[in-house]
Symmetry: C2
Subunit: 252 residues, 2 copies
């Protein structure tokens, strides 16, 4: 990979699993830093602000700068600012800091995240009326559900589906595997997609998503990886054991 | 139509529009009563109990017996009782009387209506967990939205779509145009579908739905009928001016 000019990386399942670091992850990050290549961290987290996530990562020994971290919320914010849109935000309050300072008066766009118990009919209805009237609908995610202590719970996807069904409009997905978030991360490096690689544990969201956006992709066999996932890998994708091996392959 | 043995009729748009009766409707109902044929009234109303609707109809001069009126809620109740199911009810409180007395402890089925502002995340999540675990999902309707004084509002359909998306299951529709409600109304007359006719103003829900269930269908050009609707009419459907003409054709 002689023309490698940027490295994009997923976080959960690549650097750590639940509360423990993945062996070799700290050393791999150090080697990537030593390479001098720009690094960008691309995660689908939507229940933590970027600031809160950076603090958590620092606590895990992962020193990452604010400008290196890309989430669906940062992609949404960039897009709203770029298009001069005023959002109605159906998001979890913990994510609100990422949208602080945006003009939300008389909204002309809708952003849906995993608001959980903060989803209310009145707000969903306001969102529907806006989208039915032509306002763009942005989805921070399309996941069906997530695991909570007492069982599975509805994620953002079902509420995006509800608004799409009601309005007849289609949401623009901002998280992985949609190309927007990979392109936003790359744009901040000035690097072309073909000169970048994405390393992740999710064959669909991370690796195939990146390949669709024109990057190379490396699938690690940690985190949510399950044997057989590589059968879905798109042409050009590479499979390795873990982030240590991925770093070696990327920097070769 | 020499073998006609039962007449099914929609209400809104056939007998009245908003607050005014449709000319000739009272006389048509009198002629239908004089024929001695069993009459059944099949409506998709889901924000009024059967008792409240009967009172409203009486106030409009339409004397209809409780056993003649079929709504998605009556279809749901029959079905729940018939299958021995205990429902979690996501419905408008005004509809609750139609489900009074049913066992709802430890629910093993989900019924979704147009609960409006009574939709809450916690209840939707409970419904999702039940359906994801295999409980059947029943939809009183699939409408996208309805008109309120201050604009359009989310109907039951989007919330049914949300639960279907999250669970991967498909809801069973109980309102028109699903065959269940036509069959339930017919079953109460002992009449075969081919010996019955349905009269309505909605080409899809009333007329084509009835034809799909094996009945004959007559489309009236009142209520929500719009010129061109007859182009969607299925073979066997007939178009007439209003309920007066429909009665003449049916009793011919």
């Amino acid at each position: 990979m002689s023309t490698l000019r940027a490295v994009l990386l997923d976080l959960g399942g690549v650097f750590y699993e639940a509360d423990r670091p993945i062996p070799g992850a700290t050393e791999a990050l150090a080697r990537l830093r030593e390479s001098g290549l720009p690094l960008r961290f691309v995660t689908n987290t939507t229940r933590q602000s970027r600031a809160a996530l950076l603090r958590e990562l620092a606590g895990r020994g992962l020193a990452i700068a604010q400008d290196e971290l890309f989430t669906p919320a940062t992609a949404a914010r960039d897009l709203l600012v770029g298009r001069g849109l005023r959002p109605l935000l159906l998001i979890h309050p913990d994510l609100a800091p990422d949208f602080a300072g945006l003009d939300t008066a008389e909204p002309n766009a809708v952003v849906v995240g995993d608001a959980g118990e903060h989803f209310r009919y009145a707000t969903l209805n306001q969102a529907f009326r806006l989208v039915h009237g032509g306002a763009p609908l942005f989805a921070l995610g399309r996941n069906r559900y997530f695991q909570e202590a007492d069982g599975l719970s509805l994620d953002a996807g079902p509420f995006v589906a509800a608004l799409e069904y009601a309005s007849g409009q289609t949401a623009e997905l901002l998280g992985k595997p949609a190309p927007a978030i990979f392109r936003a991360a790359l744009a901040s490096t000035g690097c072309a997609p073909a000169d970048a690689v994405m390393i992740g544990d999710d064959v669909d969201s991370d690796v195939n998503g990146a390949i669709d956006a024109g990057l190379r992709g490396i699938l690690v066999n940690t985190g949510k990886y399950r044997p057989g996932d590589e059968s879905r890998l798109k042409p050009g994708g590479v499979v390795v054991n873990d982030i240590g091996a991925a770093t070696t392959v990327a920097l070769r």
